[in-house]
């Protein structure tokens, strides 16, 4: 089991109790009066059978508040995901914080910020690098690259899933694009691991058929679920943090009900992925103030009131095109606000250029960031040894020193985190050692990982199974006229 980081204090509360109640009650009102659109008759029938008021023409299920609250209670407060390697199993929820790798459509050049399509080899290498990074516990679907050179778009998700099975033994999320969930489920089962299934809303207040089909497939396979409703404040959600919290909350609680009806007791984590709209271009603003406020409110609502595990995706990307100061601060302040307010999973490593690009070098830098954030929420020990009262007394005022004491020698490594790629040289050393930047040092670490790290191998039989399932997928899409 991967340990993750353990938060040792009550999470930061952004909202007062009465604000929290107001938002929860308003959410119940949206679910009961406005309802959620589910583009699936099967889902609507199931919801009707379980107490929802269904309008089949509009495809809307109105969910009474007692039904919503009943299914919130029935959703586990934590759950385990079985990895290919038992050491990489994770238990999502409680006071545990895990980090998840980010993604990008394409490969970005670290020097120029130029973006191009990644090759299959680059995709596999990026997965292998993430396998080697200690702070990556969990992979998203279609990661790290949404597109791979030479792979037709419809085959990207199954191909990406296969690459993650071959090049990492860590846990991974499935995708929901047309029928990919059928083949990703088979791929996971072929190597005896679980996926975390996915069901993503199309805001406002709607679930497309693919998302619902994916949820049926994944829950039937006995996989836990990752639900999300990526909305943009001012576009597909109200522009205000309070309004966007309510609409996003309604989207996610609506599908909590559906999933618990599909398979009672299914573990679910709710992902908050709401960004303010750029009012000049209409684009998403990753790393903006609104992301922090929204995520902190969401974490408080879900961890305090609902006791359902949370994922935060705000730190996954930056609008910067480069690995630079902006991408550094945008990802870090967002991830820190998430961690302090009790997120169970933070999506962080490697994404820049507003979802358009990824680079493993940034993942390596983010590995240090994740360690510092994780260690921050673990706080520090307060006991006789760490308080060092006798020592302070014996050292006394100047010329006393702590450097020549066993206490310092024995404790500093426990108390510190030493970043692997930060530049901490003196100025003169920095000059003589080739003026290396963090990026240079991360590149060196990347090369070292590529030449030394070997992921836990799959068996030749499993390898054959993967090829066969991918061939089945190609045939399936050919028959459907999609390939």
């Amino acid at each position: 089991m991967r340990r993750g980081f353990k938060r040792r204090f009550e999470p930061v509360k952004l909202l007062t109790d009465s604000q929290l109640e107001a938002i929860h009650t308003a959410t119940l009102d949206v679910l009961e009066r406005t309802g959620i659109k589910f583009e699936s008759e099967q889902a609507l029938k199931l919801l009707q059978k379980n107490g929802c008021i269904v309008d089949y023409e509009e495809k809307i299920a109105r969910i009474p508040s007692y039904v919503v609250e009943e299914y919130i209670r029935k959703t586990p407060s934590s759950f385990t995901v079985r990895a290919r390697d038992p050491e990489n199993d994770i238990r999502i929820g409680g006071n545990t914080l895990y980090f998840m790798s980010s993604a990008g459509a394409r490969y970005t050049d670290v020097e120029t910020g130029e973006v191009r399509m990644a090759t299959q080899e680059e995709n596999d290498q990026a997965v292998l690098i993430s396998d080697a990074l200690d702070t990556i516990d969990f992979f998203p679907s279609y990661t790290p690259y949404f597109e791979i050179e030479g792979v037709p778009p419809v085959m990207t998700c199954p191909t990406s899933c296969a690459s993650r099975i071959r090049f990492t033994s860590k846990v991974s999320r499935g995708a929901q694009a047309t029928d990919t969930f059928i083949f990703e489920t088979q791929l996971a089962q072929a190597v005896g691991q679980q996926l975390v299934g996915v069901c993503e809303a199309a805001a406002p207040l709607s679930y497309p058929e693919d998302a619902i089909n994916a949820a049926f497939e994944y829950t039937q396979a006995g996989f836990p679920m990752y639900i999300a409703a990526g909305s943009v404040m001012g576009g597909t959600a109200p522009v205000t943090a309070a309004g966007a919290t309510i609409s996003n909350n309604a989207e996610l609680l609506g599908v909590i009900v559906l999933i618990q009806c599909m398979k009672p007791g299914t573990g679910v984590c709710g992902n908050d992925f709401v960004t303010p709209m750029d009012m000049e271009s209409g684009g998403f603003l990753f790393g903006a103030l609104g992301v922090n406020l929204h995520q902190m409110a969401f974490n408080q609502l879900w961890s305090q009131l609902y006791k359902i595990p949370t994922v935060n995706t705000g730190a996954a990307f930056s609008n910067s095109k480069l690995i630079d100061y902006q991408s550094g601060y945008e990802k870090t302040h967002t991830a820190m606000a998430s961690a302090l307010s009790g997120a169970n999973i933070i999506v962080l490593h490697g994404g820049v250029t507003a979802e358009l690009a990824y680079n493993p070098i940034l993942s390596i830098i983010n590995d240090d960031v994740a360690n510092i954030i994780g260690r921050t929420i673990e706080g520090f020990e307060v006991n006789d040894e760490t308080m060092a009262l006798d020592l302070i007394e014996s050292v006394g005022p100047i010329p006393g020193t702590f450097l020549n004491k066993q206490h310092t020698r024995l404790n500093w490594k426990k108390e510190y985190f030493v970043p692997k790629v930060a530049d901490r040289l003196s100025y003169q050393e920095w000059l003589t050692q080739g003026r290396k930047s963090t990026i240079d040092k991360a590149r060196e670490r990347m090369e070292e990982i590529l030449s030394t790290h070997t992921p836990l191998p799959i068996t030749p039989g499993q390898d054959k199974d993967i090829d066969r399932i991918l061939e089945d997928a190609r045939n399936h899409y050919r028959k459907k006229g999609l390939l």
Partner: protein
Amino acid sequence: MAVDILDELRNMVTQFDIDNAEAMARKAIEQGVNPLSAAEALTVGIREVGDKFGTGELFLPDLVCASEVVKNALPVIIAEIEKQGKELKSLGKVVIGTVFGDIHSIGKSMVATLLFASGFKVTDLGINVKGEKFLNAAKEHKADMIAMSTLLTTTMMEQRNVIEGLKKAKIRGKVKVLVGGSPINQEFADSIGADGYGATAPEGVKVAKSLLGIE
């Protein structure tokens, strides 16, 4: 009197008065305003908003709300134009939409609004538009241009499919094709045989004008 109400029509666009737009247009028509002048007043208003959007003085919600004012007011005015047997002049007819498989509407709506503000007649087919629908709309409206938007790397190839469809229907020569969307660039636009590409909405309008030989 008539001058006042034309001013009012223009002002309701620049003041984003969505709720009163239709009633105001109706009032103008009832008062016997020339419907062509009424339409022109709306265009002047939205052009003013579009210009201020271009210079960064106004923002996307302003542009979209001004466009809503026009959308609410225009049908009444167009009905009157048709009733009087007149014709609304335009720089050209554009059919616009977000391609099949893609449900992102913001970029496309920005371009549609700015094209309208510039004096084009715009038919907005919305989102998730199948190739066939682009084709039929282009024929039906005798479009001078098809404008296609995509936000996903997985749907950008759909733009090529539409262009291939135009070729098969033997109307490729009659209609210009403008493409845009965050994953694409000039190189991609050239590779699929589009006539023009705009990286931003205002640039898209500029390219649209130059493709149709408009100053």
